[in-house]
């Protein structure tokens, strides 16, 4: 139901590199889980509104007042490769 190519496609979307063993296991496991999930297909949900947030909240606004934010050095302190006040990464086009 979910074949190797589909697994690889989804893994690519999710930026996950899976090895061959993982691809094979994932395809079986996802199929079992999706089989269970497919049971919600039996329900008549035509006139049902979707719920994305359970507790009714109106627009939450605050006054637009400037206040100090996280200092740059604190934000960079955990970075694997900080440089020139930013996060350094390799070129998107290749090294």
């Amino acid at each position: 139901m979910i074949d190797r190519d589909q697994v690889l496609h989804v893994a690519r979307l999710a930026r996950l590199r899976l090895d061959d063993q993982e691809v094979e296991r994932m395809s079986g496991e996802l199929a079992t889980i999706l089989d269970h999930i497919d049971k919600i297909g039996e329900l008549d949900l035509d006139d049902v509104e979707p719920t994305s947030h359970v507790i009714q909240v109106e627009n939450v606004l605050r006054p637009d007042e400037p206040r100090p934010s996280l200092p740059r050095e604190d934000a960079l302190a955990q970075a694997p490769d900080p440089a020139e006040g930013g996060f350094r990464v390799p070129s998107p086009g290749g090294a």
Partner: protein, 471 residues
């Protein structure tokens, strides 16, 4: 064993306030306990000097174990994931900050399923946690470290998080109290996000009074979490002795098929106790709750796949790969995430991908509406819903790891409540073959005072003895 260990957190706080023991002494006692942890419950224990707690602090200086999902400034906070190994956040979660300020200093960080994804704590990126009642069994999850630490007396009390049962199910399996509050009652700021529309933090404690006391100092609106709300009334310490006039509904969908005999027996005994205390018990339907697991395993992984996109080796955590940017992302994530986290990211990405969105995510959101409607209808007839917390007692380590769906079904009785956003507590109802069985009470949104009162009355009548787990 120090007689201080026999005290609940609220009783220990009283002793501190009365000047019979100092907060520093109490902190040292529990620090030694936490350092000697053989259950794998702690991932980090504080080295700090015991904080100077003012003698009148409401939480009395009683130290708090904090699930590794909470950011604590300068303290390792990794959500038990290798992808955040060594991360020390530059800020502290609001819930932790409020409890610290009320006089519950951070004792340590507790182990958990990686990113709170799991029901056995076997998905921790570091090590599993053992159940103090039987070390061959799991403590439940995902807040397994918090539950085991409290049950074993390695911490006086703890906080955890619940997305589909992650506070209540481990509380049940470890024989302690755990409450998932109404969605929005407690700020999520600084809680590492799993499924943002479901995640909520709450207390794991030895008894109901401790749960109420901790909860009282966690609630309230926070400008850093725009989904947080002001709690509509004061959180009271429970003292009900009777249940006169309260109507309890037992849904057949969550108490019949799949619930093992020993658990059913404890539920039946509890129903009798409710009646003896003056409560009325009737059957009430939650007809869509059997679809809870299916809806949950679309919605939660979908939200997780978006929330976990930020772990890419750029801003924090270890970095892998030495080619281009794409390989940096893919190799960092391949090395950093465990098998269950990868499975959920895959499931969520699939459910949100083009062509499948409406069939999965859209439908699951509509099932969520039906489940919430079921609760609304039920609460027109009854005040509280009574179910087992977990269909089984604690299972053996390794028993469900090969079968993800069997593991997911561990949350069968706890998943409908977060989908509806309503609060629920688990209290120990008794033992089955020497292992604890939890009883769950759920109520309408913001009915925590009612839930705590009823749980307290039942707790007194049940008289559960948790000393068998203390080491």
């Amino acid at each position: 064993m120090s007689e201080l260990l026999e005290l609940t957190a609220a009783q220990a706080a009283e002793r501190v306030r009365a000047g019979e023991v100092s907060a520093g002494e109490l902190f040292e006692l529990y620090r030694e306990r936490a350092r000697g942890d053989e259950l794998g419950a702690f991932l980090w224990v504080s080295d700090d000097d015991p904080p100077d707690t003012p003698p009148d602090a409401p939480l009395g200086g009683v130290p708090l174990a904090v699930k590794d999902l909470f950011c604590v400034k300068g303290v390792p906070s990794a959500a038990a994931s290798r992808i955040l190994e060594g991360y020390r956040p530059p800020y502290t979660a609001t819930a932790v900050e409020r409890l610290n300020a009320a006089g519950a200093p951070t004792l340590g960080k507790t182990n958990m399923d990686e990113f709170a994804m799991g029901s056995s704590n076997e998905n921790s990126g570091f090590r599993p946690v053992l159940n103090p009642w039987d070390r061959e069994r799991v403590p439940g999850g995902s807040s397994g470290g918090s539950a085991a630490a409290v049950a074993a007396g390695l911490a006086p009390w703890a906080i955890g998080t619940d997305t589909g049962g992650s506070i209540r199910q481990p509380a049940s399996l470890c024989g302690i109290v755990g409450m998932k509050p109404t969605y929005g009652a407690v700020s999520r700021y600084g809680m590492i996000a799993f499924a943002s529309s479901l995640d909520q933090c709450g207390p794991l404690t030895r008894d109901v009074t401790d749960a109420a006391l901790l909860f009282r100092h966690m609630v309230g609106r926070d400008r850093c979490d725009s989904t947080s709300l002001e709690f509509p009334e004061e959180v009271r310490l429970p003292k009900a002795e009777r249940l006169d006039g309260l109507r309890f509904g037992v849904p057949p969908e969550l108490s019949g098929e799949g619930v093992e005999a020993g658990v059913r027996e404890v539920l039946d005994r509890t129903v009798k106790l409710v009646e003896e205390l003056g409560g009325v018990v009737e059957e009430v339907g939650l007809p869509h709750s059997p679809h809870g697991i299916a809806a949950y395993y679309v919605l939660a992984p979908a939200e997780a796949s978006a929330n976990l996109a930020r772990y890419d080796g750029v801003r924090y955590g270890p970095r892998k790969g030495n080619g281009d940017l794409l390989s940096l992302y893919e190799e960092t994530r391949a090395a950093g995430f465990g098998a269950e986290v990868k499975r959920r990211i895959m499931l969520g990405t699939y459910a949100l991908s083009s062509g499948y969105y409406e069939a999965y995510y859209g439908r699951a959101q509509r099932v969520r509406t039906k489940i919430a409607d079921d609760f609304r209808a039920a609460f027109e007839r009854v005040d509280l819903i009574l179910t087992p917390t977990s269909p089984t007692v604690a299972f053996k380590l390794g028993e469900r790891t090969a079968d993800p769906l069997a593991m997911y079904l561990s949350d069968y009785c706890t998943v409908p409540m977060p989908l509806a956003g309503v609060p629920a507590i688990s209290i120990p109802g008794g033992l089955s073959d020497g292992l604890p069985v939890g009883i769950q009470l759920a109520g309408p949104a913001f009915s925590e005072n009612r839930i705590l009162d009823a749980a307290y009355a039942l707790e007194q009548a049940i008289g559960f003895d948790g000393s068998g787990a203390r080491v």
